[in-house]
């Protein structure tokens, strides 16, 4: 358990770096390998920004909470049979709690500078983040059904015969929507979209911005690992050792998330809200019904 925690803490910065590389490839920019590090270093050397009457404490802590949620979310993912950083019997619920708290953290991030564009970003994000979270709950419960348990390790073990992505084809795409929402990406980036000129992060500079971006990439890593575990069989696979399989699947989901973020257009929030409740939510009901009928003894 301690070993798993160290492995997690060591691999996270590297995976964050890889996520940044994927982002550069997605944006079609050169110098893929070094530029993320260099730009990050340049940000660290710039000053922070103070606004007119900010909520200092929340402004300071928001990136930290975001990173904390990513870490806690990642810590329920088993790397190999019995190797997991936090071995909790209700890992899926803990992951859900991390999703819910992400909405709170992004709201605080946009609220605390006391500036209009971040404020609008924060409120729009809440409108979309809450129902998006609902989707992920339904699909994760779908993943828990055949496992008969809320433990993430059991969910992996239940996929020994057949991965959930085959058994519940709707699950992964719907979970991907949540992933885009909690990592503030593409069609679900209502907090920091271009129409708000950076939105919730528009007033951040220097190390505060670097910390926020780091946490956001860490959340992408955590989401990808969770998606790989719940739907792609986690550490299961032939020949290679378990952690290697998990890593490969995580990278695959990460690439897919980056690509999806750049492919789908962002709707105005009101339209997106209706779409979520009226199209995606019934789809997740359908997914659950499908899984339920399939899992009947």
């Amino acid at each position: 358990m301690i070993a798993a925690t160290f492995a997690l803490l060591l691999s996270l910065p590297l995976l964050v770096w890889v996520a940044a590389m994927f982002d550069r490839i997605g944006a079609g920019r050169g110098r893929v390998v070094m530029a993320p590090l260099q730009n990050g270093a340049a940000l660290l050397l710039r000053p922070n920004t103070e606004t007119e009457a900010p909520d200092q404490l929340n402004r300071l802590l928001a990136p930290g909470w975001y990173l904390a949620l990513a870490l806690v979310g990642l810590s329920v993912v088993p790397f190999a049979p019995g190797v997991v950083a936090s071995d909790i019997a209700t890992g899926l619920v803990l992951w859900g709690a991390c999703e819910a708290l992400t909405v709170v953290v992004v709201f605080l991030h946009g609220w605390s500078p006391n500036s209009p564009l971040p404020l609008i970003g924060a409120y729009r994000y809440v409108a979309i983040g809450l129902p998006a979270m609902l989707l992920s709950m339904f699909v994760l419960i779908g993943a828990a059904l055949p496992a008969q348990s809320l433990s993430v390790a059991e969910v992996v073990e239940a996929q020994r015969d057949l991965w959930n992505v085959v058994r519940q084809p709707l699950g992964l795409p719907l979970f991907m929507a949540l992933g885009l929402a909690i990592t503030l990406r593409g069609p679900f980036d209502f907090a920091e979209g271009a129409e708000l000129a950076g939105g919730a992060s528009a007033e951040e500079s220097g190390p505060a911005l670097a910390a926020w971006r780091f946490a956001r990439a860490a959340m992408l890593v955590a989401f990808s690992a969770m998606a790989a575990t719940a739907f792609l069989g986690g550490y299961l696979g032939p020949v290679l050792p378990g952690p290697a399989w998990l890593l490969l699947k995580t990278l695959a989901v990460m690439a897919a998330a980056v690509a999806a973020g750049r492919f789908f257009a962002r709707m105005p929030p009101a339209r997106m809200l209706t779409f979520l409740w009226v199209v995606l939510l019934p789809l997740s009901f359908a997914n659950l019904a499908l899984v339920g009928v399939e899992a009947l003894p």
Partner: protein
């Protein structure tokens, strides 16, 4: 921290572009410039790039923007006359070298360091306010309630001047907006968008600008999804589709003060971006403010 500086030495230079007259086409070429990255907020930037002429009436706005770039900061005037005595002027088509030099500059602020309203030491806690909503706590008054046009809840109205250099709005357009939440309650155009010449109305550029607001690149637009994402009924889909086919749009918008109220922010921004800059300029009164 020396290793950090070494690492940062080859970093891309974050540039905030304030687009002036005939500057839209210029800014688009910056994407091909190596070692330079356009950012959407001056807080993220190292260098202020003024692309195209900015009228002296908007020098104040430019100075404010300049002040919002965290120090040290540099300035480059690209095909633009200087409005304050800092930074290098570039006549040619390639500002790359000047930007790199500006990344080592350290311009002083152009605006005096005074709060918007005096507040220090006033009020019962020295916060500048008094009572529940009164005074100027920390230098600014608080928003007050006003009627809403949509759902009848009288909550606070936020009034502010947006532009002329807000990346989401057409460059040069200055809007005095009153908003409740993210819905625009009333709007006035204080200054029309800058003339951009024929290249400003080019279909590819117009489409790219609109797609950027929707978070995707022009390559992804082949999927019809980009059109489906737009709200129905305001012609936005039609105009974007025309641009994607390579046709110019000649439709004229309703004047923004009539068309914007009642629209939510993202919708309003997309609506403005769905018209060619020249048409938008034609319906905004010259020098209303």
């Amino acid at each position: 921290m020396s290793w950090l500086s070494t690492l940062a030495h080859d970093a891309e230079i974050a540039v905030f572009a304030a687009v002036g007259q005939h500057g839209l086409g210029l800014t688009e070429t910056l994407g091909r410039q190596r070692g330079v990255r356009l950012v959407s907020s001056p807080r993220h930037a190292r260098v202020l790039l003024v692309a195209g002429e900015v009228e002296s009436a908007q020098a104040r706005a430019l100075e404010r923007l300049h002040a919002q770039i965290p120090p040290p900061r540099g300035t480059v005037w690209w095909q633009a006359p200087r409005l304050f005595e800092r930074g290098e002027t570039v006549i040619g088509d390639d500002p790359g070298e000047a930007i790199r030099r500006a990344a080592g500059a350290d311009d002083p602020e152009q605006r005096p360091d005074v709060p918007p309203h005096p507040w220090r030491g006033m009020g019962p806690h020295g916060q500048g306010g008094h009572g529940m909503m009164g005074g100027n706590p920390y230098g600014r008054p608080m928003a007050m309630t006003a009627d809403d046009i949509r759902d009848g809840l009288t909550l606070d109205a936020y009034s502010a001047r947006f532009g002329p250099f807000l990346p989401a709005l057409p460059p040069g357009l200055v809007l005095d907006l009153t908003m409740q939440g993210d819905v625009i309650v009333s709007a006035a155009a204080a200054s029309p968008p800058y003339p951009q010449g024929p290249e400003g109305d080019a279909p590819t550029l117009c489409a790219a600008r609109m797609l950027r607001l929707m978070g995707i690149g022009p390559r992804a637009a082949h999927a019809r999804g980009a059109l489906m994402a737009l709200p129905k009924g305001s012609g936005m889909r039609r105009r974007l589709a025309a641009w994607l086919r390579g046709e110019t749009v000649t439709e004229s918008p309703a004047p923004p003060p009539n068309a914007l109220p009642g629209r939510e922010w993202a919708e309003a921004v997309l609506w403005l971006a769905s018209f060619p800059p020249s048409r938008l300029r034609a319906v905004c009164p010259e020098e209303a403010a």
